[in-house]
């Protein structure tokens, strides 16, 4: 990093870049959440199921995020592991109204945590218990119980209830993620 870069980052003109993976089952709201985090003028109106993956960028007060928004459909889930190496943080989105597939989410999370590229790294994981606006949705505490999140001991994690459509709860999660990444860097 040259002198100019350091000066720029000190002044807050150029922000540090982090790569984040956004994972979760299909129809859990990954793309909707990422879309909501983007600046208002860059947001799209209609969200369609992601095919393969898409790369999105957004900035927070001190970091510049590059998000790999992975498709959650069953046939694309085997793509996830190819991006584990690059990811410096993980956002895991859960549809808290889909009680039936909570076991599937748990299974995918376990596969993720036991993967060789993830297992021995202390990377922060942010969980969004999404769709909290729905009537029959589970609370974030219940979701963390069902996913057995208390068993994750070697990685910092945080769960927050969110509503991807209105954007509620997203900022809280992203702020936590930003703090964790900065704590890791220093």
């Amino acid at each position: 990093m040259g002198l100019f870069d350091r000066l720029a980052s000190w002044l807050g003109l150029k922000k540090k870049e982090v790569h984040v993976l956004c994972l979760g089952l299909d129809n859990s709201g990954k793309t909707t959440i990422i879309n909501k985090l983007k600046p208002a003028n860059a947001q799209t109106q209609d969200i369609v199921p992601t095919i393969g993956f898409s790369i999105e960028k957004f900035k927070t007060s001190s970091l510049s995020f590059t998000v790999f928004d992975m498709s959650g459909q069953g046939r694309y889930r085997n793509l996830w592991e190819h991006y584990y190496k690059e990811g410096q943080a993980i956002i895991f989105v859960i549809d808290s109204s889909d009680k039936l597939r909570m076991v599937v989410a748990k299974e995918e999370l376990e596969t993720l945590l036991n993967h060789a590229d993830i297992m021995h790294r202390r990377i922060p994981i942010l969980f969004f218990a999404n769709k909290m606006d729905l009537r029959d949705s589970l609370s974030s505490v219940k979701v963390s119980q069902l996913l057995c999140l208390e068993n994750i001991k070697d990685k910092p994690w945080h769960i927050c209830a969110s509503d991807g459509l209105k954007g509620e709860g997203l900022q809280e999660g992203v702020d936590w993620l930003q703090d964790q990444i900065q704590a890791m860097k220093t």
């Binding site: 089952l25 299909d26 129809n27 069953g74 046939r75 889930r77 085997n78 889909d98 009680k99 039936l100 597939r101 909570m102 076991v103 599937v104 299974e107 995918e108 596969t111 029959d136």
Partner: protein, 586 residues
């Protein structure tokens, strides 16, 4: 067997995720009454269940979304089949639900009653009609009516209508009211639907318009047009259909496989007025499926058969318990088709052809099994149990079914050809001789056999006459005798063990004497008086033998057990004396 099923059981937890289990869901249904469909066109598949309720009450059409009940519609009669099918090309493409019950098919759209199809009425008995007409004009009283109807029932070719049959069951005091209620109504004879399935009309797409195929109690198969509900095809069967499996497309070519109540399976094809092929089984068919080009049949004798589509048997698998239900497991993403068999021993077996792939243990007896897309998950297994429970399992994305040959069926070694040597000239000659002279050879053999038997019998009689056996055969004195010779010579010790084998009769006045060559042996006491023999006890009697010869030869000493006053011995024992080695050594 046990080890392979253990490994299957271990593998089970790595294949299935337990998504939901409600032991008190109150679902009493069978595989034919469960359908999975995207009823609202939102990509979320729902489960439609025709619930039998408890006996004849509380029959409902229930719709489940995820783990919860979405809606309920009351049903008037017992459902015999529930299918979801697309009726038309209209957008949005939401499937309708057809419920077969009694002689009707109730069609629901958006979970609201939409249409009711009634089976065409059957021809009724003219005599029966005449009798009811007379009853209508009060010409005959209820008892005469009953007698006449019974007469018609016994000899008529066309069976009686439901009304008459019901009437014959009534008590005399109820008859008049029944006649008054029904006599004004026109007489109808109707049959009921026993099974229902769908058949794609002219496209093989997943969301193609489907015709309904129904089987009826009077042994007919109907294929109905999905839009107008007109009968497109009508085929008569030799018996009552109970299970249906349909594939193909109506406008192109299709096959309807029907299991009937007489234990036969018939295969119908397009444009055939009669069944094209038939499979005769010696027991009731309880499950019928088509996997690719094969027909899989489960019978009430705990056997699973595989047949080709021309009715040729390919394989047989014996199951450990009676079959409760059968269903197809089709994993479209990997194009795998396997058969799920729910058994009475709380297991669901998964078969690919005759190979057992996996065993799923269930907490209760499974009465219905359904596999398909449910909610947003493609590979979901839904089971309902005898106690009304609902089990939902999801097949893991990473699950692999190993198609290895299990212990069922003949081992692979059996099919390895042995290296059998060529037939030699000698072998061929001998076989020819044997073939030509079979009768003579058999006679020679038989004669020799009879001779052998005769000489054996003679020897036996001789032994009996002389009481040569060491066991006495007379009823008065049942005795056994055995002798032991101890020593190496020239002095031997002879121990005779005498035992009375009778239950409670003591033996008295017995004597023992010896017969021997006096030039060879000398016996010290050569004659004994035997004491009273108590039943069951063993009496050892000892004597000393001295061998006089130094030539190294031996002889036989005979021991006789005698009864006082009788010359024939009770028992004779022959003791082969050993060669006196002591003398030789000395």
């Amino acid at each position: 067997m046990s080890s392979s099923s253990e490994s299957n059981r271990e593998g089970e937890s790595s294949k299935w995720l337990d998504a939901h289990y409600d032991p008190v869901a109150g679902l009493n249904t069978f595989s034919s009454c469960i359908a999975l469909a995207d009823l609202h066109g939102d990509g979320e598949y729902k489960m439609v269940v025709g619930d039998m309720g408890n006996g004849p009450y509380n029959m409902k059409l229930k719709v489940y979304k995820g783990t919860s009940l979405l809606s309920e519609n009351a049903l008037l009669d017992m459902p015999t089949g529930v299918v979801a099918f697309l009726m038309d090309q209209n957008e949005p493409r939401t499937p309708a639900v057809a419920v077969a019950s009694g002689p009707f098919i109730y069609v629901y759209k958006n979970l609201r009653p939409y249409f009711k199809f009634t089976l065409p009425a059957l021809e009724f008995n003219a005599l029966e009609k005449e009798v009811w007409d007379q009853a209508k004009e009060d010409k005959i009283d209820p008892l005469t009516l009953k007698e006449m109807l019974e007469g018609i029932r016994d000899k008529a070719e066309i069976p009686l209508s439901v009304r008459s049959l019901r009437y014959l069951m009534l008590d005399p005091q109820e008859m008049e009211a029944f006649v008054n209620t029904y006599k004004q109504l026109p007489l109808k004879r109707q049959t009921v639907i026993t099974c229902m399935a769908t058949l794609k009309k002219n496209m093989s797409d997943k969301d193609a318009v489907c015709c309904l195929v129904i089987g009826t109690e009077n042994g007919e198969i109907f294929i109905l047009d999905p839009e107008a509900f007109t009968i497109l095809t009508r085929v008569s069967l030799p018996n009552v259909p109970t299970l249906l499996d349909v594939n193909g497309q109506y406008d192109i070519e299709y096959r309807v496989t029907v299991a009937c109540r007489n234990g036969s399976v018939y295969i119908l094809r397009r444009d055939s007025k009669r069944p094209k092929y038939s499979i005769e089984l010696n027991s009731q068919v309880v499950g019928l499926l088509r996997v690719q080009k094969n027909i899989i049949i489960g019978t009430s004798q705990e056997i699973l058969y595989g047949y080709s589509q021309k009715g040729k048997r390919l394989w047989t698998v014996t199951l450990p318990a009676p079959i409760m239900t059968m269903s197809l497991l089709e994993q479209k993403s990997r194009s795998i088709q396997t058969v799920l068999v729910g058994l009475k021993n709380l297991e669901v077996h998964l078969y690919r052809d005759k190979n057992l792939l996996s065993i799923i243990s269930t907490p209760d007896i499974v009465t219905s099994v359904c596999f398909g897309r449910y909610g947003r998950e493609d590979d979901t297994l839904i089971m309902t149990t005898k106690g009304g429970g609902l089990i939902i399992k999801i097949l893991k994305r990473t699950a692999q079914f190993e198609g290895k040959d299990s212990s069922f069926g003949p081992p692979t070694r059996q099919s390895i050809k042995l290296n059998v040597p060529k037939k030699t000239k000698l072998y061929v000659d001998q076989t020819l001789r044997e073939r030509e002279n079979a009768v003579a050879m058999h006679r020679v053999f038989q004669m020799d056999l009879y001779r052998l038997r005769l000489s054996a019998a003679r020897a036996y009689v001789k032994a009996l006459d002389a009481s040569l056996s060491p066991v006495s055969s007379t009823m008065q004195e049942p005795l056994t005798l055995n002798a032991i010779v101890q020593g190496i010579g020239p002095h031997f010790k002879l121990i005779l063990n005498l035992q009375n084998t009778s239950q409670n009769r003591p033996s008295m006045q017995l004597l023992i004497s010896f017969l021997y060559d006096e030039r060879l042996y000398q016996l010290k006491p050569a004659f004994f008086k035997v004491p009273l023999l108590v039943p069951g006890l063993n009496y050892p009697i000892e004597t000393f033998i001295e061998c006089c010869s130094d030539k190294g030869i031996s002889d036989i000493i005979k021991v006789f057990v005698l009864k006082e006053g009788k010359s024939t011995p009770l028992i004779t024992a022959h003791i082969s004396m050993p060669v006196s080695e002591g003398l030789v050594v000395a």
